[in-house]
């Protein structure tokens, strides 16, 4: 569990994070969204004790970062895959981290296997592609088998297999009761991964809620219906108060859910060929929510 309370961070006269309060629950993947410059990275750095908040504080599993005796065993973070000495091998990088957390050396080989870097373990990290660096960063985060995980743009540079792997990893971690906070700009990816969302803009909280709720609040839900008896169904639906639009070969119904439309169709003896609920996309919902909060609007 991560609890941020009244977090504020100023750099000179710019307020990067402004009185931000949120909770990241265990057992679910929480997506952390916001435009560039919204303060996501600053917030994550404050969670990990790297940046000092001007006011407010963050608790990880009920404690401040500075009170954690072996932080890596409580919270693992991947903020920047390039935070590795380029001349040090992947294995040595993990070795000193393991030592800092009083972990056995065998744990290093375990996580190297887990992220698929066993073969590259003795190469200098500077020779790694971005995708491999990302895997090394994930290995570092997983090393202490922590209850809380933070990932900043974890799929950056990964290929489709790697992306699918990270998604599954986060899912598994959350299903095991861990707290997983992941920031990303890839909304289609987040829609598949995140159960809950924390959305910020200009350093302030815009929304914290389940992903499904975030989407349904900001976008229109409709149902796509195909049938040979268009007019009969349309009349019945309009009578029930629905709005019906036409698409090539189909009707788009707003105002009744799929089950209600199915009942109406059955009651009027209408044969259905399709009855598909349609939700808006996370992208649509996000853009609507953050319209006012985008820091850099280009000309």
């Amino acid at each position: 569990m991560i609890e941020a309370v009244g977090l504020t961070k100023r750099y000179g006269r710019t307020v990067a994070v402004d009185d931000l309060t949120f909770t990241v629950r265990p057992g679910v993947v929480t997506g952390f969204l916001g435009p560039n410059g919204a303060g996501k990275s600053t917030t994550m750095r404050m969670v990990l004790g790297l940046d000092r908040p001007d006011t407010g504080f963050v608790l990880i599993e009920g404690k401040r970062f500075g009170e954690l005796r072996r932080p890596l065993r409580v919270v693992g973070g991947l903020l920047d895959a390039k935070w590795v000495h380029p001349h040090r091998t992947a294995r040595n990088h993990l070795r000193w981290l393991a030592r800092a957390a009083d972990l056995p050396r065998t744990r290093v080989d375990e996580v190297l296997d887990l992220v698929g870097l066993a073969k590259a373990a003795r190469s200098p990290a500077g020779d790694f592609s971005l995708g491999m660096s990302q895997r090394l960063g994930i290995a570092g985060a997983l090393l202490g088998d922590p209850r809380v995980l933070l990932f900043d743009e974890p799929v950056n540079g990964l290929d489709p297999q790697g992306i699918a792997w990270v998604r599954k990893l986060m899912r598994t971690m959350a299903d095991n009761g861990r707290t997983v906070l992941v920031s990303s700009h890839l909304l289609a990816e987040m829609a598949q991964t995140a159960d809950e969302l924390i959305v910020i803009g200009r350093g302030r909280l815009i929304a914290q809620c389940p992903t499904a709720q975030f989407i349904s609040e900001a976008t229109e839900s409709s149902v796509r219906v195909r049938t040979a008896q268009v007019e009969r169904l349309q009349t019945a639906l309009v009578h029930k108060g629905a709005t019906v639009r036409h698409e090539p070969g189909a009707l788009v119904v707003v105002g009744l859910d799929a089950a209600e439309i199915g009942e109406v169709a059955a009651a009027h003896g209408v044969v259905l060929h399709e009855l598909s609920p349609r939700r808006g996309s996370l992208e649509e919902a996000y853009l609507r929510h953050t319209e006012d909060a985008v820091a850099h609007h280009a000309g």
Partner: protein, 241 residues
């Protein structure tokens, strides 16, 4: 102990420190050997005169020590360290300790090495160690190196930039401390209280008319290093990583 092991692994899992140590030793001992050979005609070297090149190795070791901090900032591993160790002070103290130990050992190897190689070349009884001052000078060299390493770590932590830290550590002892003497009236007095001048009082046996003795000089040098380290700890604790 854990943190010392962490810093030891970090230090020796890249090649640069090993090269620095080798360079420091080869430079100090090699130049001493060369000078001894060139000096064939004259009297044999005294134990004291075999130690004059210590500043070469010391400079290289200070560069190594300061880079061990600044490269961590440059490559972001300092942040990785702070994620792994919640007390930044303890992490930095561990680093300073490990570097002090390594530098101390290098100092001992280089001082006894320089003396030994000179003795081998000159075959002169003059080179034998007789006085307590000579023992202090040679066996105590490790202390000078160790303190200098702590000072360099502190400077690196304060500045975070490799170029700036290295420039200061090269320019200050080799140039600034000498140029201070030019300042009218106070120059001489100021020069006496320069940290590396104080250290050199300990690292030599000559009487240079300084207002303190060898141990006083070492204590003063250590006090400066400690002050810088305290400042570095305070800044690192407070500053965003």
């Amino acid at each position: 102990m854990t943190l010392l092991a962490v810093e030891r692994i970090k230090l020796f899992s890249t090649r640069a420190p090993v090269w620095c140590i080798a360079t420091a030793l080869v430079l100090t001992i090699g130049v001493t050997a060369g000078l001894t050979m060139l000096d064939h005609a004259g009297e044999g070297p005294t134990p004291s005169s075999t130690q004059t090149m210590y500043i070469l190795g010391l400079t290289v070791i200070m560069v190594m020590a300061t880079l061990s901090v600044t490269t961590e900032y440059r490559f972001g591993t300092m942040r990785a360290t702070f994620q792994a160790v919640s007390s930044r002070s303890r992490a930095l103290l561990a680093k300073a300790t490990v570097l002090a130990i390594v530098a101390g050992l290098v100092g001992e190897v280089s001082s006894f090495g320089s003396w030994g190689v000179a003795k081998l070349i000159a075959h002169s009884p003059d080179t034998d160690i007789h006085t307590a001052a000579e023992w202090r000078q040679i066996a105590g060299m490790g202390l000078v190196y160790a303190i200098a390493a702590v000072l360099a770590v502190a400077v690196g932590a304060l500045l975070r930039q490799s170029a700036a830290a290295v420039a200061i550590l090269l320019v200050f002892p080799l140039l600034v401390e000498q140029l201070v003497e030019i300042i009218p009236r106070v120059g001489d007095r100021l020069h006496d209280w320069m940290p590396f001048v104080a250290a050199s009082q300990f690292a030599s046996t000559a009487d240079r008319g300084l207002p303190y003795g060898p141990w006083g000089g070492l204590a003063y040098f250590a006090a400066i290093a400690a002050a810088l380290l305290v400042a570095a700890l305070a800044v690192v604790e407070k500053r965003d990583a």
